[in-house]
């Protein structure tokens, strides 16, 4: 009986140590941040003493076995304790002792979990020493051990804490399995970080994905956080053009997020803040959806465009034929690898996915469907990210909205309707631009100036194309073309003005960061003056003169600062040509204007 009660004392001590380390330590004063951890360490060392020296193992292999495992569990706890109190070397020593003791029996039900957790901690320890490769070795070996164990045995293994528990307290198999899986989830999560540090990006993403997946399976997650993480991962897939995976993450994010109960009525300040946060998360997921729609459309555009950015009908029919054949099967196979969740969750996710395609749209009808989904999310995101309070976010959303219209216009065959889409862009961008103080939002201001200028340019081009189709170019269309060109010039000029210093002087030498945008703006203005239509010869001469001045600016600037050449080679080459040709043309025009002088 004495042995029994002695064991009970040990178990009690162990429990106290764990509670000190996990619970009490959070309340430690700042002046003694590790007080409870040191207390726990003290207890653990006492237990080690009480276990007695190794050689003293009295009788029987079974007893020796038991003792070794208990000792290993203690070494593990001590190792973690030292690591947490910033004593890495001592921590490493204890953890190594633990793995050494367990080595021969690491695949047993009693030891596998402990061994994996010791290796996890060695992984952390080495990463803190910036030895990522060593960390990787430990973690990958933990991963391999898990797989081997599950293949060969698979029974829920003992949790490390059970080595100091009385028989009647031992955990259920269900709980054991849960804890074991959790330890393994941590292995994968650490590996994700290791791969990221080693710049093995794809592998890192794969491990993040698996971590998320396992969080769902073992219910170890906060819905809002999980949803946000899944939505973020979707953005990674976007950049890799994996639209199926991206959509799956987003659909799962939306489904999981919808499970979050609405915060109780916003009475006190805190509830109000929680409510706000929740709304923000919702809007953020919506923004991820917007990017999804936008990128999908832009990808399609890239596939379909010819060398001047127009829809290529040959390409279109080619892709349509191709799509019929392969897409379906390929997708199904890929999908298996990434599927989130249990069966009931799966259904909701699938239902969510069905609302938007994940293959590139190949005609206007398909593009429009994706556009509309994106536009809905624009509205949803704007509900939270209002101009007042969230200027940057709000404008970014509007810019995305504009980009959605822009890419939709690519699919539209009718020039008039296409022009109207660009007009919609103008209508949304111009008012926010007008309200924006460039002193605080200089960069966004500049983006808007450029985008507005480009959009007007685009509209002018369309009007010219429409004009070309007419029997006769009427004065109304000419007027329209000219006014659009002038508006484009206006916004390019506004951009150039933004480069002026507070004394309103244009910089002698442009900073590297604005060199190319500034030169492109000058170049576009030069071109625009060349495109203005007038029947008045004198006016035409003036326009040509202005155009010449802008082209000359580029040429002169590059002569003065040869460093600038590399940034605008093509533009410079063309400008030089124009600077050579325009004066002759103007000469001729002058001759025409007064032919007899």
């Amino acid at each position: 009986m004495a042995a029994g009660s002695a064991w009970a004392v040990l178990c009690e001590k162990f429990r106290s140590a764990q509670s000190l380390s996990a619970v009490e330590s959070k309340k430690d004063p700042e002046t003694e941040p590790y007080r409870s951890k040191y207390g726990a360490r003290q207890l653990l060392q006492e237990i080690k003493q009480l276990l007695g020296p190794e050689e003293a193992a009295e009788a029987g292999a079974a007893a020796a076995e038991l003792r070794a495992v208990r000792l290993a569990a203690l070494e593990y706890e001590l190792g973690v304790n030292h690591t947490e109190t910033e004593e890495l070397s001592a921590g490493e020593e204890h953890l190594l002792k633990c793995t050494r003791l367990l080595e021969p029996r690491r695949l047993s039900r009693a030891c596998v979990s402990l061994y994996i957790q010791a290796q996890n901690n060695l992984g952390i320890l080495w990463s803190e020493r910036d030895e990522i490769k060593t960390a990787q070795t430990y973690l990958e070996s933990a991963e391999a051990l898990y797989n081997q164990y599950m293949k060969e045995n698979g029974n829920p293994p003992l949790d490390p804490s059970e080595h100091f528990m009385e028989e009647e307290e031992k955990l259920t198999d269900q709980e054991r399995s849960k804890r074991f899986e959790k330890a393994y989830t941590h292995t994968l999560y650490y590996l994700a970080q290791v791969y990221q540090h080693l710049e093995m990006i794809e592998k890192a993403a794969q491990y993040c994905h698996t971590t998320l997946k396992r969080q769902l399976e073992y219910s170890g997650y906060y819905p809002v956080e999980w949803a946000l993480n899944a939505a973020t991962l979707s953005q990674y897939y976007l950049t890799k053009q994996c639209f199926m995976e991206s959509r799956h993450c987003l659909a799962a994010a939306s489904v999981i997020f919808s499970q979050v109960g609405q915060a109780p009525s916003a009475e006190d300040n805190e509830a109000e803040q929680d409510h706000q946060d929740l709304q923000q998360r919702k809007a953020e997921i919506a923004r991820c959806w917007i990017k999804y729609c936008l990128n999908l459309l832009q990808s399609a555009r890239k596939l379909l465009e010819d060398n001047i950015g127009e829809l290529d009908p040959d390409r279109q029919s080619e892709l349509k034929a191709q799509r019929k054949k392969e897409e379906d099967e390929k997708e199904k196979r890929r999908k298996k690898a990434v599927l989130f969740g249990t069966s009931d969750l799966c259904d909701s996710v699938l239902a969510m996915e069905e609302k938007v395609s994940c293959v590139c749209p190949l005609d206007f009808k398909e593009a429009r469907e994706i556009f509309l989904v994106g536009q809905n999310y624009v509205q949803e995101a704007k509900e939270f990210f209002q101009v007042d309070g969230y200027v940057t976010d709000h404008i970014e959303i509007v810019q995305d909205h504009s980009a959605l219209f822009k890419v939709l216009a690519f699919f539209e065959e009718d020039y008039e309707r296409r022009c109207k889409m660009h007009k919609r862009r103008i209508d949304m961008l111009e008012p926010i631009y007008a309200d924006l103080n460039p002193q605080y939002y200089l960069l966004i201001s500049r983006q808007l100036q450029f985008e507005l200028a480009d959009t007007y340019y685009e509209m002018m081009d369309l009007k010219v194309a429409i004009g070309n189709r007419l029997e006769e170019l009427d004065s109304h269309t000419v007027k329209k073309i000219n006014s659009l060109a002038q508006l484009a010039v206006k916004y390019y000029e506004l951009f150039l003005d933004s480069l002026r210093n507070p004394d309103k002087i244009f910089p002698e030498k442009l900073e590297d960061d604005v060199l190319r945008p500034a030169m492109v703006a000058k170049f576009h203005i030069a071109r625009l003056y060349g495109k203005l239509i007038t029947s008045d010869g004198k006016k035409q001469l003036e326009n040509m003169q202005t155009s010449l001045e802008y082209y000359t600016f580029l040429v002169d600037y590059c002569e003065k600062y040869p460093d600038a050449v590399h940034a605008i080679e093509t533009e410079l080459e063309l400008s030089k040509e124009m600077v050579g040709l325009l004066p002759t043309r103007m000469e001729r025009l002058r001759a025409k204007l007064c032919p007899f002088t």
Binding site: C208, Y236, K302
Partner: protein, 406 residues
């Protein structure tokens, strides 16, 4: 601007190997021993940096002065030493602290339990601001220093309540400066801001948008709490940059965008744009347009000459050296350019042919007088408009007169 080589040769028990690492900075000061002939006093530092701060603010630039370095290496001293000695028009000051992505007012008595409750918001006209932050009108240098001292005192006392807060928090002291001027005989205002930023330790102090350094500090964490950071870093780093730059997407220089390798005109690559729902730090948010753009940014990195501080010194210098690249860049959308360039090439070719044929015409039909010349010129002019029908209508009369040109 001059370049300074910093010679980090160290000996002693720390590391007996000889190490020389060179960094280039605009200025370099030695302010350890006042007896030293190379000693740089506060006045010297002020002459070099302070005066440009003030004249910039006077002109209407936003100014941002960062101090970064090991605790005890003199950040606060550098900040405090900046005298405000110019004539005052209308000034008010704010002083705030950011800790754990939360903001509190350093110039107002706050709730002790929850001091960091202020939210950052943005207004289209007045820019990013902290909601509910107290503003203090100041009329002279003494008052400014008074406020600075008050806030710093508050930071220090708070440090005993919040574990390690002062070394992990940023403090921003901002002076709003408004001058009334006459522009075109109309009363107008020039508003500018001077931000003095006391940065925290490296792990939280990244004013760049560069995510990988944030996780460097976070390193491998013991729980899944940071999974979000890991994933967002992933998404951030994988944003693809092609040779096509876009002004629609402004990125920091910290990323690996190939600014130097664009093949202009002939590309139509797109940049994958993702949205990362993890916000960049409050610090960057608040100082958004004080970094780059129409503002002047000065970074003061303070280091200690002690060999025991070698690691900190190196990391500070490395950080400061990286900070030179933290400027937001506008990028140009090339969509429109591609079309324009192709069109312009065509025009140039056409113009050249026209001018050559004009010369031919001149030789062959010189005797027919100016009418012929006119017709050729007209053709050249109009073809440029790309309005084929228009051209046809207008020029048809000329063609009738001069069939040789068809």
């Amino acid at each position: 601007k001059f370049r300074t080589q910093l010679d980090n040769r160290l000996d002693g028990p720390w590391d007996s190997r000889e190490k020389i690492v060179a960094f280039s900075f605009d200025y370099c000061y030695w302010s350890v021993d006042p007896e030293d002939p190379k000693y740089a006093s506060q006045e010297v530092v002020f002459q070099d940096l302070g005066t440009s701060v003030l004249s910039g603010a006077f002109k209407g630039y936003n100014i941002c002065l960062f101090a970064y370095g090991q605790t005890g290496s003199g950040k606060t001293y550098t900040m405090m030493g900046t005298p405000v000695s110019y004539s005052i028009h209308k000034l008010f000051a704010i002083f705030l602290e950011i800790y754990n992505e939360r903001v509190r007012d350093l110039l107002k008595q706050s709730d002790h339990k929850k001091p960091y409750t202020l939210r950052v918001r943005e207004h289209p006209e007045t820019g990013p601001y902290v909601q509910g932050l107290s503003q203090h009108l100041v009329t002279d240098y003494k008052q400014v220093v008074g406020l600075l001292e008050e806030g710093i005192a508050k930071r220090i006392t708070a440090a005993t309540h919040i574990h390690d807060a002062s070394s992990r928090s940023h403090a921003i002291f901002t002076i709003h400066y408004t001058q009334a001027i006459l522009e075109n005989n109309l009363p107008s205002e020039i508003a500018s801001k001077i931000n003095l930023v006391d940065l925290a330790g490296s792990e939280r102090a990244d004013p760049s948008y560069c995510k990988d350094r944030i996780t460097e500090g976070a390193n491998i964490n013991k729980s899944l709490v940071t999974l979000g950071i890991v994933i967002s870093t992933l998404a951030q780093n994988s944003q693809m940059f092609s040779s096509c730059q876009s002004i629609n997407s402004i990125t920091s220089e910290g990323d690996s965008s190939p600014m130097s390798s664009h093949t202009t005109g002939s590309v139509s690559g797109t940049r994958r744009q993702a949205y990362i729902p993890y916000r960049d730090s409050i610090l960057t948010w608040l100082l958004k347009d004080s970094l780059g753009g129409n503002s002047k940014t000065i970074m003061v990195a303070t280091i200690s000459p002690a060999s025991s501080s070698y690691n900190e010194t190196m990391s500070t210098l490395r950080y400061a050296s990286n900070a030179k690249n933290i400027i937001n860049k506008p990028r140009v959308n090339e969509d429109a350019n591609v079309k324009l360039i192709r069109e312009l090439r065509e025009e140039i070719d056409r113009l050249k042919t026209m001018l050559i044929s004009f010369e031919l015409v001149c030789i062959n039909f010189f005797s027919t007088g100016p009418i012929v010349m006119l017709s050729v010129v007209a053709e050249a002019e109009l073809s440029v408009l790309h309005l084929d029908k228009y051209m046809l209508n207008v020029t048809s009369s000329f063609f009738e007169e001069c069939p040789c040109c068809v």
